[in-house]
Symmetry: C2
């Protein structure tokens, strides 16, 4: 019965990671995530998710502008809607290990602006 | 105290609508959402969200491939992770009115494959 109930509430993805790949013209005052290497970051997320055998329940997805340009590279993880900023390729494994696998969001990478994560503890 | 608690759990977006804009080469066996008009659909979502004054808490976002190509145009709404398929521009106002505003997902548009919506009632 428990197993049945768990199956009932399961969704297509347990974790859906959206990486902003928006590209603005060079010199735009808001900048963009693409110029900060987001395409490579998304590809590395995708590679690691696959290597770890998580790809049936986790997806690393390209996204258009997430409207967090100033904090880019911006990444939002659903269903929790945790917003990460200034993400680099070096952060990907920690996000996957801590947040995606162990359900423990990476505090140091959360966007601290309260518009995004109301509870962000990064200073 | 209640108001404080509500504020604490509020997220950047109450509803985050991702519309697949993936584009595959013409003739690809899986097809793609872009060739079915998803860019125009996303633009219309965005326009209506703004016209209705919802844009501070709702975002219509472009997404890369959501891996639901066969059901496209594919749209997924978070935080609930409701998957819609075969969405047309004519469906946008109903999704906004029923789901985004009144929190009542549009059953007739849900992807029925159980991999996406476990509870889909569309036949």
């Amino acid at each position: 019965m428990s197993a049945f109930l768990i199956l009932e509430v399961m969704k297509r993805y347990n974790k859906h990671i959206f990486i902003c790949e928006n590209k603005r013209p060079e010199g735009h005052p808001r900048g963009c995530c693409s110029e900060k290497g987001s395409v490579e970051i998304r590809e590395y997320f995708k590679l690691r998710v696959k290597e770890l055998g998580l790809n049936s329940e986790v997806r690393a997805n390209a996204a258009g502008c997430l409207d967090a340009c100033e904090f880019g590279v911006s990444v939002v993880v659903y269903p929790e809607q945790i917003w990460y900023g200034a993400v680099t390729k070096n952060d990907v494994d920690e996000i996957i290990q801590s947040h995606i696998i162990n359900n423990n969001p990476v505090e140091r990478l959360k966007i601290t602006h309260p518009r995004y994560n109301k509870d962000a503890s990064k200073t």
